[in-house]
Symmetry: C2
Subunit: 360 residues, 2 copies
């Protein structure tokens, strides 16, 4: 059993990482303070894990909400349908919500928990690698808007996160690789040792070897925790975590949410950020090539793609939450393990880099 | 000029109280950190004050959203229409929202500010007495749901509150009295001196004498601040502020939002709470009569009313956010200036009291 402590004052909580955790009542029950608990999951995850989570909650009044699968449900309308159901029960302010699923479920349920009666407790049981290494730390919850991803949301911390590595064994390869993109991201941002470990062990990771899974989840959560603890509400250093995301969000939105998986778009975004950093003269060619190579070994996209215009892509990037007073801040690389936040870059290089990756 | 400091760590802010504040750029501009500012108001308030607020914001990019008047707009749908507009501009995360209007505008804009891009700054310019003495302290923001008032919301603090007493002069008598209900509430909860001052000066208040207005707003905000500072997220003592509100919310919801003004329903709720406290043997007859008499002098309802059944009323009360694990906590009185939170009351007295006030 591995434990990562997220230290945020009175909003602190623990992430527990191990194989088979969902079966353990002692990992769940103490964190359900009232008598009502509502498990919110989706059609794909429910047949796999809903029953065992319910068994681990015996003695509580258990309700369930099963949503369709997919990014398209991450809307204010779905939030409303959750509120309708919670008020129909009716759930009081002591009720606990459980998010059982991937990042979409985590973001959606976290936002619903943040807003229901101005905030009820929620537990995250992330069942994808992406959710275990990313959405389980930091309390970012949100829904999408037609004009942009995660535009409506809240910073709201769970009371507990249960990362059961066994759930990764049922994950399809594309979903799994999408999670590996975020794992690589932590190495690129601030942890060259972890990046080098990944270079050596990427095959073991892609084969889902149990100890490799435990290690990458722990390292990723620790890396993210160190940054989030310094800057919970993203007024500064936390923006580093968005490496690859400004480009990635534009790709996801441009193709329509769901066509590219989030991690795929982030992987592509990291390659674009590395290429741009290289063209600015900030990143060495070796570092660029190592970055692309590791991402490629994780079966993630690294090559120019068709389907968006340069103008599309740049327009969509302007909607990014890192635009401040008209300036787009980008997360760029000075080295592997050294990301920087900057709005002081040559805009022609941004244009030429995007132009290179987007095949009109 | 009076200033009330709301001390909530990194979420601290000041309430400024004086006549003509809206005209003063120096009271607004320093609190707008980005270049974009969006004033959100309604059809009634806009013709009265929008122009002067815009003049006080010269040099900024000013946008305006004018909503219809009334409690019926306090919905998730209106929040969505605000998000649509903000993203259409598009507003970035440095944008500041200004809530110019009464409690409905304050709650609505506060909630939109809490959720837009996971939180942007907002300034409150409350133009009703109710909003100046109540929603300006404590950061409760919310929208209504058909099943209950303020069921969807967030605790989210403004960066500044500007209470311009001049705006109360254009308020109609019913709206003004509705605010006085919340003022009386602070005396009842925890401040017998203030209650006694109100008994002596209620005519000056109802005549809107300027120094009386400044005094009741300051006293009310100080009283509320003292409680909120102890318990920002209402896990304990803050519930005292809901004196009269559990009954009041049931009345508002039962009749349909907007039929009774919020303060009218709270006034009636305080009378019901006082009567119930008297019948429980907790409150003296003298204190009950003084309470009813002051509320009546403020031209607020104190008598039994037709239009709801006892069953309606009790059902609606069960949806209150103070229900925890099936127990309804009520705010009751042991004396003037001494409110208590209790779920240890004789339920037959609750039933008989509601029965007395509801004329079937």
């Amino acid at each position: 059993m591995k434990t990562v402590n997220i230290d945020l004052g009175d909003r602190s909580y623990q992430i527990r990482i191990a194989d088979g955790l969902m079966h353990q009542s002692s990992e769940l029950l103490p964190w359900v303070s009232g008598r009502q608990v509502v498990i919110i999951t989706n059609e794909i995850v429910a047949p796999l894990y809903l029953q065992q989570v319910k068994e681990s909650l015996q003695g509580k009044q258990i309700f369930e909400i099963i949503l369709p699968d997919g990014e398209h449900i991450k809307t204010l309308q779905t939030a409303e349908s959750i509120f309708d159901r919670l008020l129909g029960i009716p759930c009081d302010r002591k009720a606990t919500l459980i998010a059982l699923g991937g990042g979409v479920i985590g973001d959606m349920v976290g936002f619903a928990a943040a807003c229901y009666q101005r905030g009820v407790a929620f537990i995250q049981i992330p069942t994808t690698l992406l959710a275990q290494v990313d959405s389980s730390v930091g309390g970012k919850t949100a829904v999408n808007h037609p004009r942009g991803k995660n535009m409506i949301g809240a910073f709201y911390q769970p009371v507990r996160v249960i990362a059961d590595t066994r759930s990764l064994l049922t994950l399809d390869d594309r979903q799994f690789a999408s999670g590996v993109a975020e794992v690589i991201k932590y190495g690129l941002i601030n942890d060259i040792e972890f990046f080098e470990w990944l270079e050596k062990n990427i095959d073991r990771v892609m084969n889902k070897e149990r100890d490799a899974l435990g290690y990458i989840i722990e390292c990723s959560c620790l890396n993210k925790a160190r940054i989030v603890e310094q800057d919970e509400r993203e007024s500064g250093v936390r923006a580093l975590l968005n490496l690859g995301h400004t480009f990635g969000h534009a790709i996801e939105a441009g193709f329509g949410y769901g066509k590219w998986l989030h991690g795929e778009a982030v992987a592509m975004g990291m390659v674009i950020a590395a290429q741009m950093s290289y063209q600015l003269g900030w990143l060495s060619e070796t570092a660029l090539l190592r970055t692309k190579s590791l991402i490629k070994k994780a079966t993630l996209p690294t090559e120019p793609f068709a389907g968006l215009t340069k103008a599309n892509m740049l327009d969509l990037m302007k909607l990014d939450k890192k635009v401040e007073d008209g300036n787009l801040k980008l997360i760029l690389l000075e080295d592997i393990g050294k990301a920087v936040i900057s709005s002081e870059y040559d805009h022609s290089v941004l244009h030429s880099t995007v132009d290179f990756f987007v095949i009109d």
